[in-house]
Symmetry: C2
Subunit: 144 residues, 2 copies
């Protein structure tokens, strides 16, 4: 149930950008800073831009820029842009594709679990990820 590496990288890149939301970043610059292969970073930036999380500026001195404030972009947004809709189970995303749908009586309750996990990812912003542990206090109550 792990995140894909690409989605993981994307969160790292987005958080770096969120630390200085007013700057524009080129893909190659970010790749150098983060220690990731430039072509891979370029691909990710395109995905993030197409999803509306980044604004792209073409031409010389162009680059990427956060489309919204770091407090208004969630982990769920980033994951969805790279990996598609987040979710633990198939049938909550592509209904009708599961051959068991008739018999299994747990689909509805899986949906509840699924929604809870997604909501947790939606509740964490890039700003919080860049902050200290205190910034994550809201999530801690999930562990009580």
């Amino acid at each position: 149930m792990r995140l894909s590496k690409l989605a993981d990288y994307a969160t790292v890149l987005m958080c770096r950008m969120a630390a200085r939301p007013e700057l524009t970043y080129s893909a190659s610059q970010l790749a150098g800073e983060a220690g990731l292969p430039p072509p891979t970073v370029a691909k990710l930036m395109k995905l993030l831009a197409r999803a509306g999380l980044l604004t792209s500026l073409r031409g010389g001195r162009g680059g990427y820029l956060l489309a919204r404030g770091p407090e208004a972009i969630s982990l769920a947004d980033v994951i969805r842009a790279v990996d598609g809709p987040p979710g633990l189970i198939e049938c909550s995303i592509h209904p009708g594709r599961c051959s068991l749908e008739g018999g299994c009586g747990i689909r509805a309750n899986w949906g509840v679990v699924n929604a809870a996990v997604i909501q947790a990812l939606r509740d964490v912003s890039l700003e919080q990820m860049n902050g200290g542990p205190a910034a994550m206090a809201g999530l801690r109550r999930l562990r009580d």
Copy 2:
């Protein structure tokens, strides 16, 4: 970030068994009832037994039996048995394997998110999955 199909199947099988925890089930019988290929079910049962979630009885009239009560087996247990340790990110499971570990400042906070998701899966038992929506009330507060 989806669960593997095998892990998904395993939850279905385990919940079927949890509905009648006193019975023993053979792999082929369960496969027939659930509409899954017998060899695949057999493989899953072995994994679940090795993880200590099922007790196996060999020989004629043998089969599998829940090792504990349905209220004492969680989704996290089942997932771990099939897919290995649950977790969204690599570096919280295999520290030292991520090349970015030096620079990325979000590892600690990812750990918090990760722990929250795992805890959510640990908090749901097979018994709850078999119950009505009311049985999941504990999880709903994650969405508030």
